[in-house]
Symmetry: none
Subunit: 209 residues, 4 copies
């Protein structure tokens, strides 16, 4: 990832917010320039075009979310007693706090046509990394799982994450909380059918109530 000058960095941060809220087509360089307290042509001293700015913004957003994802998996937390639990449970908070995440999702869902290849590739990497972090933890917690099941629960977990993303897009916090609870419960139930004997997970959910 390119390093940016201090000014470029500042513009980039503002642009992330703007693109997150209004998308590529709905954002004008004029607006972003004004946010950055400058006139439109000054932006061109830092970025050679709208596309370049958007590309940099996207890379930045991607990197921010990668790092956050990593930290979710690295952090010791009761919630991580089910693999990926922390990430899922602070997702709403993250979404609200992080324009990067909002920008990333918007880009991934509805990329500006001309940058579609770049965005697709970047987002697929992101998803692959998510899976790569998740799967070993799952395998460790459920040693008896065969590869097929491992893949299946990876898919299910990523599906749940996406489902929550969508709910964050348009629903109320209450609806979000209900969906989170419902999906996590269903997911836990399914896993519980696999498990034999006691496990941290068990103590977690029982103790959690």
């Amino acid at each position: 990832m390119k390093t940016l000058s201090a000014s470029a960095e500042r513009i980039c941060c503002l642009a992330i917010e703007h693109f997150a809220e209004r998308g590529y087509d709905g954002s004008s360089l004029n607006d972003i320039a004004i946010l950055a307290n400058m006139r439109k042509p000054s932006l061109y001293a830092h970025f050679s075009s709208k596309d370049e700015l958007y590309s940099v913004v996207f890379e930045r957003a991607l990197e921010n979310e990668r790092l956050h994802m990593q930290s979710c998996f690295d952090t010791a937390s009761e919630l991580n007693s089910v693999p990926g639990g922390l990430l899922v449970h602070q997702l709403a908070e993250r979404y609200q706090a992080s324009a990067s995440l909002r920008c990333l999702l918007r880009a991934a869902f509805y990329p500006p046509e001309v940058l579609r290849p770049l965005i697709s590739a970047g987002f697929e990497d992101y998803l692959a990394q998510m899976r790569q972090l998740f799967r070993p933890l799952l395998a460790q917690r459920y040693p008896q799982m065969d590869d097929t099941d491992l893949e299946l629960y990876c898919d299910a977990w990523q599906g749940i994450v996406d489902s929550l993303h969508v709910e964050l897009l348009y629903a109320t916090p209450e609806a979000y909380a209900r969906r989170l609870k419902a999906l996590w419960r269903v997911y836990g139930d399914s896993l519980s059918l696999l498990r034999q004997g006691s496990s941290p997970y068990v103590s977690y959910i029982t103790s959690g109530r």
Copy 2:
């Protein structure tokens, strides 16, 4: 829903496709007019503004998907042996065939600011109707469920639908198939725990309350 003249109807259909593919900001009336084989100002004989056209398009898309949803629930099908099964299993096909669905989702996820209230209200109705269709079937199939569980499986089911929507946005058919399989399996597993007397799940939730 307003009835439209034949021409307006035709324009509307073309506009649904256009808005589905490019969104509100990325679509120009000129392009739509050309698709409709007319000149831009002619559109104003049918719709008083871009916003009005978009509103009508949105209502149409909503109505189309409402009808389709209804028919999914009405149709007798092996897949409906699990409530909502048919809808879930033909979702990919529907998505590809129906610009209405693509347009509806795009509008719901990222509405043009000025039409946000309209779109939110419309889409919430749509979700409410979905729930209203789904819930009685669930209650019928699992008579032992209490209201809390009914709500929870409604939430889970809708969450799964949204998760699949997202996968349709950016993933390959293979990835989509895997997600569908994974989520449906997890969902079925969870339901299966309800059916036979006591189960780890049962003890889990009952102890949890």
Copy 3:
């Protein structure tokens, strides 16, 4: 050549003058719009881009000069007693009167890079037509000339025309008149060496000294 609406025709005529005086790079659509008594975007109802406008202007200018050239050769005139004489002798007048000619020459000498192929091709046709008109007259007047000499006097004549064009670009009318006289004399002298027997031409140039 495309037929244009009345308005487009009007714009085209104004644009020919503008481009003739300032060249492609030095002309702005804004200026041309104001000349045409309209606002800039209105031009786009008639021409899809600056390049298209320039192309049409060029074709128009070319066509105008083709027609004029033809008429020079068709007109009965004492001056045409030497082939191409009329064209050469009214060139200064034509240059002043015809923005088409000025525009054409500017385009041919220094074409805007992006339209170079179009302009080159068009201008080469123009030169070829000029030659095609000139050569038979020369052959008729000097039946004893072989092909090699015919080609040579074609080349010389066209060279003289270009030389006069250049003088029109930057010189005074007096300088132009001197050049015309000098080149025409030299040219006539050379031809006189070929000639056998008397001809209208002879009496013309000798009386002209």
Copy 4:
């Protein structure tokens, strides 16, 4: 002519090429700065404005071509057996090699409006010098010529030079060669009518046929 620092000299050379190829309007200081391996504002350490740069470039080009012209007349060469013969015969080579010549001609033919007086004056001086070099040689070679004829052959010769310039602008090397041959022959023929007795020129042109 102002003396320039080494850097300014370097910039000037690069700018000559740029202006030669794209003209005043088509050249941007940014491009020139990049060619000079610097940033745009750095140019202003050497030249106070685009106009000043262009003026200096023009003076340089003019000076270069003056010197070259002088050397053409000074050089002993078989080709100079007809006055001005060397200059005419290496014109194509010079044109290709010298951005100065290309820049000079472009400036002379289509000067940027604001610098027109400067350029006109400079170019007229150039033409006057050309004439001043040429005429005495002509007078020496053809002692019998009166002033009127001397002027006339000066005009013709300069006309031929311009005609060749134009051919260099847009034609192929073959077309150029044909024009050169044709004009030189016509010119020589005319002179041959004046001459009495043998001269180097006679043997040259007769052998050339």
